[in-house]
């Protein structure tokens, strides 16, 4: 019997060999994201749109508010790639200027949401007890309020402009982030690795910065990816119903509203900003899904 089985040579040192370099959660996430072709394509589309929004108005011969009544409502041509509007303003410049403003509003609003939400959620989860109870009751009241209505009311009492929209969006937008961060930290707080860190004598602030915050970054990034398009939508929506940005400033909502007024005769005024906003929303949606799958495989849907 013994002859039938030959002992295979096992190199003991091989057992402990680490085949791959040690990756952080983000490097791993990036590796997984790279495999998702749609997400990568969306990322590049967004970068392209961002670059165009930044550079196109700079390198154009026209300005976004320069009017020229000799060339109103021109259809797209070599001189005016997207045509001109009712004041003869160049729509190529106005569209990218509008994209720039819409993106700016969305990013700043998302950043403010994120800051307030993360601080509120983290404080609530870490202090716990009565403070947490009070903070959560407050949030439970706020989540019942339809956001858009409050945003509209705020828009009405503040002077029209970029910052008004940012403030109005942020006042209502942080609640969701706060809830997610709190839930995540509550979950992490009781896990073994935090207990281990505590046993080893790690200070509370070090646990927060080294263990809790890095582990919630996934949730935060994913949520931010969904906040940005919703901010872009809300801004465009407000401008469309006439209480957002005002002329001659351009935002995607203002441009779409303008285009809608003359849709019957000059569809090109509406089409270009509409395509840009749809592209932005689609790309953020796909990228957000991709990031969720990549950073948090448990949430894969």
């Amino acid at each position: 019997m013994d002859e039938l089985f030959v002992r295979v040579h096992v190199d003991e040192s091989e057992k402990e060999h680490i085949a791959h370099p040690n990756l952080t959660a983000f490097q791993e996430g990036w590796l997984r994201l790279k495999k998702n072709k749609a997400a990568v394509a969306s990322l590049f589309t967004l970068i392209t749109i961002g670059l165009l929004a930044l550079l196109a108005p700079v390198f154009s011969a026209y300005s976004y508010k320069e009017t020229n009544y000799d060339i109103i409502y021109q259809i797209p041509s070599a001189a005016h790639l997207f045509g001109t509007d009712q004041f003869g303003r160049d729509l190529w410049v106005r569209t990218w200027m509008g994209t720039r403003i819409s993106l700016l509003i969305a990013f700043v609003a998302a950043f403010l949401d994120l800051t307030v939400g993360v601080v509120y959620g983290a404080v609530s989860a870490l202090i716990g007890g009565k403070v947490d109870a009070v903070m959560q009751r407050f949030i439970e009241i706020l989540v019942g309020i339809p956001h858009l209505i409050i945003v509209i009311l705020l828009m009405m009492i503040m002077p029209a402009g970029i910052w008004t929209i940012v403030v109005a969006l942020s006042i209502t937008g942080w609640v969701n982030m706060a809830r997610l961060v709190r839930a995540e930290i509550l979950k992490l707080k009781n896990q073994e690795f935090v207990l281990a860190a505590r046993v080893l004598g790690t200070s509370t602030s070090r646990i927060i910065w080294k263990h809790l915050i890095p582990n919630t970054v996934g949730v935060i990034v994913i949520n931010a990816m969904f906040t940005i398009p919703s901010a872009i939508f809300t801004e465009a929506f407000l401008s469309f119903i006439g209480i957002g940005m005002q002329e001659p400033k351009a935002s995607l909502g203002v441009l779409i509203n303008n285009g809608y007024q003359v849709l019957r005769n000059f569809p090109h005024v509406l089409i270009f900003p509409a395509i840009v906003i749809v592209l932005i929303m689609v790309c953020f949606s796909i990228l957000g899904d991709g990031l969720r799958d990549a950073l948090d495989p448990r949430m894969r849907k």
């Binding site: 209505i149 009492i157 465009a236 119903i241 006439g242 509406l270 509409a274 929303m281």
Partner: protein
Amino acid sequence: MIKYICKRLIYLVLTLWVIVTATFFLMKKLPGSPFDAERFNMMSAQQQHVILEQYGLNESLPKQYVKYMGNILHGDFGTSFTYTGQKVSTVIGGRIGPSALIGIQAVLIGLALGLVLGIIAAWKHNSGIDYFTMIVAVLGVSVPNFVAAALLQYYVALKWGILPVGFWTDWRCSVLPSVALSFSATAMVARFIRTEMLEVLEQDYIITAKAKGLSPMKVLMRHAVRNSIIPVVTILGPIVVNLLTGSLAVENIYTIPGIGSLFVDSIKANDYSTIMGITIFYSAFYIFVVLIVDIAYSLIDPRIRLAAGKEA
């Protein structure tokens, strides 16, 4: 269960109170006045006094607030500034019909289309129809409803002349706005059902059903669909929110005499009392829908009821 509902009802009242209070004080800070400034200043002090008194605007803020809260408890939302002499509740009441019709039709279209697309997509996973459904799902939530509504109006009504451009005369007028509103609902339902059903299809009881020789159709209808349909109740809340916001733009585009267009018009006319009335109406509606959805879901799925009971 009763404890849970009571707790929710207390929150409901608190939330409504916060909304009413916030709206009241925000409205009082509003720049501009519902009265035409030029003509108002031409009036004598006595005339101004009479008008202010008629609308209850001559008292101190706290007094006005207490009075307003008292009136609301009696179902009185004050008098509209635009529709002179009409009660806000009457104005809103007259506008509910069209909005409700469009909203209900949109939900029904969204549910029907979304269910069919989602079920087929999951059943034929990774097939052409699955990819089509995913594209619909992404586009449905990405294309802003006012862009969709504007394009539908342009092509279907203006270019092809199949349906009316707007107005509110017969049922044909309600088709386009309902379809425009239903896009986001279709997308959300299709996506949700697809995910849910892909999970259900991997469950042991589906394998059991297949193993005991049930026809694929029976497995689908009796086991898969039934078990994946119930959770759709949970996304009714977000769907209703989307419809509310959507209606503001869509009703304006199709000139429908509904609450959404009334709201936008009141905002432009500084009609405080109507804005406040609609804000409260929308919020109350939304909160009730969420509450009913939560209760319905806990009744349908006992696991949720237990979790809620533990929390309470």
